[in-house]
Symmetry: D2
Subunit: 284 residues, 4 copies
């Protein structure tokens, strides 16, 4: 069975849904899921459609060409399509913290994530054994002020060599440069350890402690040039009390971070996220 | 502008979405929202579509007839349509607790609920002043073992006289009989003060205390003949500790009850709930 | 039965708990509750003790003098004591929103709050009927740029005339001036409609919409001179999606605001909050 | 520094706190934490005290004897004391699911749990490599109907040989027999994949799906003879929708299970749990 997922956005206008669904029927496809959203402030239409096509005659290329000519050009759509022919390839960038790494690899191992992880890149050697445990190649690329650009060359080379689709920063403790972001726009997922936009930047748990908040949070977002300001994919929070020390906050926060990051990765991997205007539409 | 909301369920089969959306386009309608769900265990398709039709020529009756003939019969659909011509009429059944009543009437007063409340019926006189405050006719119909059937006669008479669409039991402390349920199938909304199916029946906070749970909850559901076993519309919970006495649980629970019940009422009033197989599909 | 609640903070040092509990025993008191906290960053000790004293011979004044002489001076304590002799008097300052007002007055009416509410002050006339409904004097004091100082004179006069203990800003849409804050330090409770420190200032739901967050929140805090920067008493959040319009956020937020504010009021009224270093210790 | 934690419960009566704190002062100890609770329904007093004793002269045995003679017998206390001299030893019983195992071992590895894990026992061989990865001896003891008693002999032998203090069933798929429970009363921690008391027994996610609940949960509790009916240590829930299939529930549930179980293990390991009357008091 050929499965094809279609993500579309364009200016809202009449008859989009009927036109698209009709087109799919004409192409002998079956719609197994359709979700749609209209952002009323800016009048933008978003849609995600999962379709199935039977038979050997189906050609992804043919479908895409026809969709472009008959539908997408007419409605001036931005669109992407994904098939089940190959799995997304995800690279992990890490430093010294292991909780997000364990959480992601545990899920990977038990087939909860429908992706491939061809490599782990770290600026420290500490977590190399974990890579070994899970049978994933681990590349140690140290980063210092003077070697940052050179290190990025190596990172990019590896990412390209492994045909990486998206990157997950699993508590990677370096700021990612414009060069990498431009290569992977809306395809680098970070976990920040606060409920953004509160406590952006360094040491959010220290800031949360100082401000005396009664909830802490974690936010997974796409990386953009402005630090911790990219489109938010997932957030969660936990209630705390005055009795929590900074290290208690850090420990509690780890539970949030790993779950929130893994949820964001799952959403991205299943093509359920669309980015528009520095915000996300998350399809169900 | 004529607005029409369509709720549909039927056996899942190819081309439903395309057929329905096409039909709406042919009827000169515009689709402003579409959400759909397939229950894979039983292979049932559910859909909710919001449409707009311009112009004086549009006839609801005409649309419904055409939809029946051209679409619904073909796919053997169960379906309902709702227009913006008239507001739903909701009756409140209450006893002595006022928190759900205040919450619903506060929202009603500030136009958060797009409904009419023609009457309040209570088996006690205590809350009559609240009815007066909000300008809603209050009917006191006492219920005793021997007068129960007679009391229901009066209730039904009032409900019919006011052309009530659905009933909300806002902590009404009487069991509703089969007769009333049959008149209002999937249209009587109750709030039960536990996270069902735990602690069905009387005194759930006492049972929660005894069992030593660390969370309490509230559940809003449609009333069916089996007590506290109807289709669940909304649930929420709150964390508690060993330090909560039974009266602390009751106080905390009130906050859950009123919010959960009001959320369920909003979902029902906006035609976002479909019932199937004693479960609900809640459209976004 | 005389009940006396003691709130204490001082530099952490050995034997505080034993000294205080011993002292209470010597005064023929019984300890019914004790909770304590040490803030390790600054080495501050906090304690809340509920005691009961039987018999006509007990004198609050006598107890307080003895506690001052034998315990508080020795440990250089900041302390306060509260008895069950008289209820706290709370003033409500409101503008046009009614949801927090209804929620607080509903609880007040059903004796959930162990306080008195001698008056409501509003800069608008809109909600006067609600005051009447609940039998609470309503004072309309308009506030304009040019009359602000004069309006505050009237407010202060009323607050003093009614011997107000603390003030609740139930969505009061004016900035409270230093003069009022100085008269009621750590005794003016505000509700801000965001999870502070995110989205301080005006129109937080608009900012939340723009930023594309996946959770919204509400924060109750003591008012200090810096806007929305006072000690946080209570916070809660709700998950949202891209499908929420600004008005959906506002509606959802109302549910958070009223529950969070009422919880903060309950904590304050029961003397469960201590303020230190612009943060709160919330006793259980 | 000698640290000693004292857990006490007894009939509520005057002067307990003062007597205990005084006693500790007389023994030259410093109280670094005290939390207390009175269960008013049955009038039981609970207390947890953390103390520090300086100097080589301090003797745990001496302290305990004195406490028994001077305090505990007078108030007829049930009490236990724990020192920082040695870490608690925890055994893991597992079957085929790895998510709780990874979560616990990840925390163990990063020193979040202040315990030792001398062994893993499993009735299946599947997860043996994980034991190896974390350097923890793995014992495969198959369990069949006919060999159950014999298997328990081996389990008990191993548990005793390793001087195990408490057992964690990390999704162990066998019912633990009375014999094991009697050896480890209130010291076997299970994770059940529902918000108990709802959906006790087998296949709770299937039951949750069937009932159409809008929240699912996980519960960690001490094992008693009655299945899933022991004292609850920790619970958490997640909101779900009609769109969740059974396998979605299972996946979402895994996140709850691992966090809830690890939280319960942390509470137990830090001696923050007291059991009374099939309920727990959880100290802060």
């Amino acid at each position: 069975m050929n499965k094809l997922t279609l993500l579309v956005h364009c200016k809202d206008q009449p008859n989009i849904i009927a036109s698209v669904t009709n087109f799919i029927v004409q192409q002998k496809g079956n719609i197994v899921y359709l979700d749609q959203h209209v952002e009323r402030e800016q009048n933008i239409f978003f849609m995600r459609v999962e379709t199935e096509f039977e038979g050997a005659k189906f050609s992804v290329q043919g479908f895409e060409n026809a969709f472009h000519n008959e539908i997408a050009s007419k409605f001036k759509m931005n669109w992407k399509s994904y098939t089940n022919e190959k799995k997304q390839k995800m690279a992990l960038l890490i430093s010294k913290y292991d909780h997000c790494l364990y959480d992601l690899l545990g899920r990977y191992n038990s087939d909860e994530l429908d992706i491939e992880i061809p490599l782990i890149i770290s600026n420290h050697k500490d977590l190399e054994p974990i890579g070994k445990t899970f049978g994933i190649p681990f590349y140690h690329i140290p980063v210092t002020k003077s070697t940052k650009s050179e290190a990025e060359d190596k990172q990019l080379e590896l990412l390209k060599a492994h045909q990486i689709d998206f990157i997950v920063l699993a508590r990677y403790m370096q700021i990612v440069s414009k060069r990498l972001i431009d290569e992977f726009p809306d395809r680098i997922i970070n976990i920040h350890h606060s409920f953004l936009p509160a406590f952006a930047g360094a040491k959010p748990y220290h800031s949360a402690f100082k401000r005396g908040v009664k909830i802490i949070g974690a936010t997974s977002h796409y990386v953009t040039e402005e630090l911790d300001a990219g489109p938010i994919i997932a957030q969660d929070v936990a209630h705390i009390t005055h009795a929590y020390s900074i290290s208690d906050l850090i420990a509690k926060g780890r539970d949030l971070e790993k779950i929130v990051l893994s949820n964001a990765v799952k959403l991205h991997a299943k093509h359920k996220v669309m980015v528009y205007n520095n915000k996300t539409v998350i399809f169900s």
